[in-house]
């Protein structure tokens, strides 16, 4: 709880609609895609670095928890003010500051929406590859803080691979610049990378410098449908051996296809058992060449459909709808975005589906199989006590299976509130202590996102 005096301080520092205290207005900031509800004590929307610095000095002095927030599309509640505190929204810091086609970089404020940046870059024939399925609705600040992956990770890597530098405001008000404009830089410890994926635990990111590459002029996609999961996974292996990496290689299991069928029109025959979505890009002749090879690699299949232009976009829109479509099967889901080494994919997915069958639950497996990242979502009705209990058990078994295959319990979403309790399954005490010590250097009094540290 903030005192009246503390609220007044915030009102002065954030005039007009930059600060919110009314519960009705704050409700919007009390949730994200995790559907957890945690009411903050205040929401502020800074416009300048100076305001942020003053806020962070004040917060440390008063021991007020700080929770940075982008667009609230995170699925583990990482941006929520669990236990109270101030939500610092980046909504009013949303300008693209520079696009430089000679240095191949862009500078942006954290609130810029990923897709808006992509659209602006395309005008300059430049490309920022990381594209989480939430690209149209999530912020660059959020993407950097979660080290967001995305569909293109197979060929282009994840957010971390594109962050050259950033400006962060630390508890106490210090403004820290890390990295710079160079695509190569080996001086000092890599503080930039430390912030990427830190889930707001070290400070508030106020500016980001991103590496760009030339926009590939052409692309094509293939939808391949199979009679069973095994055939699809065999095709994944063949697809990855054509001598050129696809941009994207996504798998949808039977349950996933079923959910999409229930949500609307789909480009495959109803009853299909497994499907792959593959995207290739490059110059036009290269795409034509790779397309032919990929076609051959994905065959034999029950259906092979190539999409270009508008048709290609439509193929991918279906993929973006998986998350919402899951709710057509059951009202609640426990999301798992585990990742395993590619060679263990088959074992992992078959294991997860078996767990679903044993626990009498619908487990939806889909995801970026090209890089070993599998979403295994456990659909259930949380209001049914027995079902909820089984779902929680199934989740634990999925995580254990993953770790036994040398995998990780999260490939992209992080741990936030909902998975914080599982970190100990993967990280040992030594690792966690060192990480806590590192955080303490940035945040000695622990005001950043308490209880949601990603370690």
């Amino acid at each position: 709880m903030l005192t009246a005096e503390q609220k007044n301080y915030l009102k002065d520092l954030f005039p007009g609609d930059e600060a919110i205290f009314s519960p009705a207005s704050m409700l919007a900031y009390a949730t994200d895609a995790s559907r957890i509800l945690a009411m903050p004590d205040a929401v502020v929307r800074p416009r300048s670095l100076e305001q942020l610095a003053k806020l962070m000095a004040w917060a440390q002095e008063h021991g007020v928890p700080i929770h940075p927030r982008g667009r609230g599309t995170g699925v583990v509640g990482a941006s929520l003010a669990q236990g109270g505190g101030v939500v610092v929204s980046s909504l009013f810091m949303n300008e693209i500051l520079e696009i430089n086609s000679k240095d191949f970089l862009a500078r942006a404020q954290p609130g810029v929406v990923n897709a808006d940046l992509q659209a602006e870059l395309a005008k300059h024939r430049l490309f920022y590859p990381p594209d989480p399925a939430s690209a149209a609705i999530s912020s660059i600040g959020g993407n950097v803080s979660t080290n967001a992956g995305g569909m293109r990770a197979v060929k282009y890597g994840v957010t971390r691979d594109y962050v050259l530098g950033l400006t962060a405001v630390l508890p106490g008000g210090k403004i820290l610049h890390t990295g710079g404009r160079c695509h190569k830089d080996v001086i000092g410890l890599d503080l930039t990378s430390l912030f990427v994926g830190s889930a707001g635990a070290l400070g508030v990111i106020a500016e980001i410098t991103l590496k760009l590459i030339p926009l590939p002029p052409a692309s094509a996609s293939i939808l391949a449908v199979y009679d069973n999961l095994e055939q699809a996974l065999d095709a994944v292996d063949r697809g990855l051996s054509i001598g050129a990496l696809p941009v994207t290689l996504e798998l949808m299991s039977r349950n996933t296809l079923l959910a999409l069928e229930r949500a609307g029109e789909v480009p495959w025959p109803c009853g299909a058992q497994a499907a792959l979505l593959v995207k290739l890009d490059g110059s036009e002749p290269a795409v034509e060449h790779d397309l032919e090879k990929m076609h051959a690699a994905l065959a034999p299949a029950a259906l092979l459909r190539t999409g270009r232009g508008r048709e290609e976009t439509d193929l991918w829109e279906v993929r973006r709808l998986i998350n919402p479509a899951a709710y057509k099967i059951a009202p609640d889901k426990l999301s798992n975005d585990v990742a395993v080494p590619r060679s263990k994919l088959k074992e992992a997915i078959e294991g997860f589906e078996a767990i679903g069958r044993e626990m009498r639950l619908n487990v939806l497996c889909f995801g970026h199989v090209g890089d070993g990242n599998v979403h295994a979502n456990i659909l259930h009705d949380a209001s049914n006590v027995d079902e909820r209990r089984r779902a929680l058990k199934a989740r634990r078994r999925i995580l254990d299976t993953t770790l036994s295959l040398e995998g990780t319990i999260s490939g992209e979403h992080g741990t936030g509130i909902s998975k914080h309790g599982f970190i100990g399954l993967q990280l040992c005490e030594d690792q966690r202590r060192i990480m806590a010590d590192i955080k303490a250097v940035f945040d000695p009094t622990g005001i950043m996102t308490p209880g949601k540290e990603p370690f």
């Binding site: 009314s22 519960p23 009411m39 599309t73 897709a115």
Partner: protein, 370 residues
């Protein structure tokens, strides 16, 4: 799973809501409305009733969130329902409509007796002073002899009557067998203003009259009216609903095969404003055909910010949305905008930058055939 669709907080609606886009205030976004309405329903959290209601009611009724929501959450309808159950809402609406009548433009003709606002200023709604931009050289013959009625909508019935006259002339040129009818309101503005009973009554009245006339073709000149009439179909049995959907036709679609010619008065660039409620491509096609390479459509179609009741409650907010809309229109290089919705014309006209103008497309066509 059944019952009311529930919001899964996925955030897809944020990127399309004009209120959120213009202000960056997440508390105005559809996701927040869903949360507030749920909070009001269940009474959870520390959400005080009054401020929650006030906030939830901030909606332009543009229905853009509906198009992208994977759950089919209908925020504008929920907002309308909230307005409807609010005991003082109707009194408030009319009282304020009297003070700022432009805001409820299409509705003013329907105000309770004795409450109709006086002294409305529609000077911004004159046709282009330089004369019409397009002449119809030869009218389409596709609809000759078809029985048809004109659904002029409130605005063309009681406020800008020349739209009605113009539309009737064009229908005459098309050679349709025009039946006389007095339809009243389509229900759309009433619905979004929370006047749910009135809206339903208007729709029922329309359906009864249309049936009595032998289900003729219904020519329309306003996207919002078409939206209201579509909703009417949802209240009919399947066979009749289908017949109504087929009967409701944009006047622009009926004119499509006509031959046109640009006059000397036509500006170099004309930007098309697509109304949020528009579901037919006819107006856009007709105008791009008639204006040729002078026709421009903005990259991203923005909402005009008309928003009926919201414009009364929060004029500044609505104006912010309107400014963004004009920015996108003038970014095409045009200083004139045309549209096919009577409410949009008004919102665009009153908010036009000093050198810019907005017209209903009817006003840019010559009155009669040569």
């Amino acid at each position: 799973m059944s019952g009311k669709p529930s919001c899964i907080r996925c955030g897809r609606c944020l990127s399309v809501c004009p209120l959120f886009r213009a202000t960056g205030r997440e508390e105005l976004a559809p996701r927040s409305k869903s949360m507030l309405l749920e909070a009001l329903d269940r009474g959870y959290g520390e959400t005080p009733q009054l401020s929650a209601e006030k906030l939830a009611a901030m909606c332009l009724g543009c229905r853009r969130c509906l198009d992208v929501c994977p759950q089919g959450v209908n925020a504008p309808q929920a907002v309308a329902e909230l307005r409807a159950v609010h005991p003082d809402f109707k009194t408030w609406l009319w009282k304020n409509a009297l003070r700022r009548p432009q805001a409820l433009f299409p509705l003013v003709g329907l105000a309770p007796r004795g409450m109709a606002p006086k002294g409305l200023d529609f000077s911004g709604l004159e046709p282009p002073s330089e004369g019409p931009w397009v002449e119809i050289v030869a009218a389409s013959t596709c609809f000759q002899g078809r029985k048809a009625v004109l659904f002029p909508g409130c605005a063309a019935t009681s406020l800008v009557r020349r739209w009605r006259t113009k539309a009737e002339n064009l229908l005459a040129a098309l050679g349709v067998d025009l039946l006389p009818a007095d339809f009243g309101c389509c229900g759309s503005p009433q619905e979004s203003g929370g006047l749910l009973h009135e809206a339903k009554a208007s729709r029922a009245r329309f359906a009864a009259l249309w049936r009595k006339l032998g289900r003729p073709l219904v020519a329309t000149i306003c996207a919002t009216c078409r939206n209201g009439l579509r909703q009417t179909a949802e209240e009919l049995d399947a066979e009749e609903a289908q017949a109504l959907r087929e009967a409701v036709t944009p006047l622009s679609a009926m004119l499509m095969q006509s031959q046109t010619r640009l006059t000397d008065a036509a500006p170099e660039r004309v930007a098309f404003h697509k109304p949020c409620h528009e579901t037919s491509p006819a107006d856009e096609l007709w105008l791009s055909k008639s204006l040729g390479d002078r026709f421009f459509a903005p990259d991203v179609g923005e909402c005009c910010g008309f928003g009926g009741a919201l414009r009364l409650a929060e004029p500044d907010l609505a104006a912010q949305v309107g400014r963004r809309c004009w920015d996108s229109l003038t970014a095409t290089g045009a200083q004139t905008a045309v549209t096919g919705c009577t409410a949009c014309v008004l919102a665009l006209s009153v908010q036009a930058p000093p050198t810019a103008r907005a017209f209903h497309w009817l006003d840019i066509f010559a009155q009669s055939l040569r």
